[in-house]
């Protein structure tokens, strides 16, 4: 969205195009979240905390989608004595906008996945789905174009390699113990430690 005014017809057409684009991106974010959830949840697991994890994930994805849908809805203006309906609506908007729903969804989905027996490539696909879900959600909430991710393409490619490496490392026990598998696990662990080492100091600065 830009602030420069143009002719009324052009402005209307641009507004409609922008609205259609925003709806598409929001729908894509919700579909990616729902797809990741279903991918992690199936086949259904009937262990103790699976239901709770499923509830958390569903709530996170649904409320995250609701937050994106209500992003343009203005908060009712402050008044001295608002009606109960207005107060309830304010509470709903606050709840939807300020709770980190996507984080809840990610934790719930990862939890669902860990309840299954080891399935490394399945988990790798889930990882790709989750990272796509987070990226598209960010684009949707900031009304940014897809091109905003272009500078990150190489890093995302590196992430995909590490994802595949992790999945490969997860498959190694199935191939049996040996010197090669130990080496690969060592490489995978080293890569992860290096990644964590790069990011943790800055996290500490933030905190």
């Amino acid at each position: 969205m830009t602030g420069r005014a143009t002719g009324p017809a052009t402005a209307l057409a641009s507004l409609l195009r922008g609205a259609a684009g925003a709806v598409r991106v929001r729908a894509a974010a919700v579909l990616l979240g729902a797809g990741s959830l279903v991918w992690a949840a199936l086949p259904a697991v009937h262990r103790g905390d699976a239901t709770f994890a499923l509830d958390v994930a569903i709530a996170g994805v649904a409320a995250g989608g609701l937050r994106l849908a209500l992003a343009a809805v203005p908060v009712p203006e402050e008044s001295y004595w608002p009606s109960p309906g207005v107060r309830a609506w304010r509470i709903v908007l606050d709840l939807v906008r300020h709770v980190p729903w996507e984080e809840g969804a990610v934790i719930g989905i990862a939890w669902l996945e860990v309840l299954h027996p080891s399935r490394p490539w399945h988990t790798a696909v889930l990882g790709a789905g989750l990272i796509a879900y987070l990226l598209i959600t960010h684009l949707a909430e900031s009304d940014a174009p897809l091109a905003a991710l272009r500078p990150q393409a190489r890093v995302l490619a590196l992430g995909a390699v590490l994802l595949a490496l992790g999945a490969g490392a997860g498959m190694l026990p199935a191939a049996g113990p040996g010197a090669g598998s130990a080496l690969l696990r060592l490489v995978a662990a080293g890569a992860l430690i290096a990644a964590a080492g790069l990011v943790l100091p800055s996290i500490a600065r933030d905190v």
Binding site: A110, S118, A195
Partner: protein, 426 residues
């Protein structure tokens, strides 16, 4: 149409941004830490792989990041506007580096945005319109900078300059003119002979009369030289008296809104007729006044002085002891009032008894709400009768009272008094 009013001051400030991790970064961090945590606890390396893209993105985004300090300039196209007039605010951010900039306008009270309230880019333009008169803040401007990787957000808020919003003047073309005008040059034909252009009559020639004023037709008929006489042209003093004690009715068309719009229209009409126009605003605790003056600039001075009535209370001069400069003898006093305050009505009677020529424009367009109870209905009828009695008593004193609904031009209710000069009864 964006007006080009008086140049507005540019609000410029070096802004200290509050930087923090973006929501996007926090989500990536959650994914990364969750994956690592599960990988360690469950001894499943594929979850470490799941965490890797998020962690790599975070790490790469942190590398070599410089968080800038920026200078924001905000310049409204004008700092004076009438109600419902559009004005634009141009905003610019300097020193943003390779960060993306997003602007969000939070309009102030009674300021309505026209079009988008959010914009991207180093420069943006927001169009707003003030909905109601008064001295108002245009609003606040929120600027958000995102780094190249969109992992850090810097936010700052800037208060936009103040706007003087004038009441949209009503339509008035005609003016009420007194029968007795002060001896000062102007544009109203007086009842005495003078050097004006309006024909007054014919009289016999006396030595010293100009030859060009001889009326040859009349001279031929009467057999003696006759000369044309003309009416003198005079100006008058007009004082606009605005009752700001009662503001009843719907916001936007309340009694005070109508009073100010009517007074604005009258100020324009009388200054266009080369009259000297002043204003008195009657408020609780005193009154503020502006001595009569000439010219279009005086119109803005009058409106500026009336805008102070927004506060509803003024510690000004006592209304009973206004100086001659505020209320010159022989001035026409045009009153805009809902006539709800008994003390104000008494002050009008007092002024009339002191010999001022007055005309009241009644701007009351609301009534107490109807209720079912009989006592309430009786109270409502009594209130109406009291209001009628107040207007009747003023008319009996020789003060014309006309009602104005705020919709029609002021010329219509004033028509009976603008057709011929108004008698100044003593």
């Amino acid at each position: 149409m964006i007006p080009n009013g008086p140049a507005a001051p540019v609000a410029s400030a070096e802004i200290e941004l509050r930087w923090r991790s973006s929501r996007h970064a926090r989500r990536l961090l959650t994914l990364g830490l969750t994956g690592l945590f599960i990988a360690v606890l469950a001894r499943r390396p594929e979850f470490a792989g799941l965490a890797a893209p998020a962690l790599v993105l975070l790490a790469a985004g942190r590398h070599g990041r410089q968080l800038p300090r920026i200078i924001v300039r905000a310049k409204p196209t004008t700092w004076r506007a009438f109600e419902d007039e559009r004005l634009a605010v141009d905003v610019t951010a300097d020193g943003t580096g390779d960060c993306s900039v997003r602007w969000r306008l939070h309009p102030g009270v009674e300021i309505a945005p026209v079009g988008a309230t959010a914009a991207d880019g180093r420069q943006a333009r927001f169009v707003v319109t003030p909905e109601r008169w008064g001295r108002r803040q245009i609003g606040t401007l929120e600027v958000t900078l995102r780094d190249r990787w969109r992992l850090a957000e810097g936010r700052a808020t800037m208060t936009l300059p103040r706007l003087d919003c004038y009441p949209a003047p009503a339509r008035q073309r005609t003016t009420v003119v007194l029968r007795r005008l002060p001896n000062r040059l102007g544009e109203h034909p007086a009842r005495v002979a003078g050097e004006g252009i309006e024909f007054s009559g014919v009289r016999e020639y006396v030595p010293g009369d100009r030859q060009r004023s001889i009326n040859w037709a009349a001279s031929t008929r009467r057999g003696r030289l006759q000369v044309n006489t003309f009416a003198a042209e005079r100006s008058q003093d007009v004082v606009l008296l605005v009752d700001a004690t009662s503001d009843v009715g719907e916001p936007g068309s309340s009694a005070l809104d109508l009073a100010l719009r009517g007074a604005g229209a009258a100020a324009r009409a009388y200054t266009d007729a080369r009259d000297r126009v002043g204003a008195i605003t009657y408020q609780w605790g005193g009154s503020s006044w502006l001595a009569p003056g000439l010219g279009r600039r005086q119109v803005y001075r009058i409106i500026d002085s009336m805008l102070a009535s927004d506060a509803g209370y003024a510690r000004g001069a006592s209304f009973a002891r206004l100086p001659r400069a505020a209320l010159p003898p022989g001035a026409l006093v045009v009153v805009f009032s809902p006539l709800l305050d008994q003390r104000f009505v008494e002050a009008l009677r007092d002024m009339r008894e002191r010999g001022f020529s007055m005309l009241v424009v009644d701007v009351l367009n609301t009534e107490p709400p109807p209720r079912r109870r009989a006592e309430d209905r009786i109270a409502r009828r009594i209130w109406r009768m009291e209001q009628d009695a107040i207007r009747f008593s003023l008319r009996e004193l020789g003060i014309p009272v006309v009602h104005w609904d705020g919709e029609e031009p002021l010329d219509l209710p004033l028509a009976a008094y603008t057709r011929r000069p108004m008698a100044a009864r003593r």
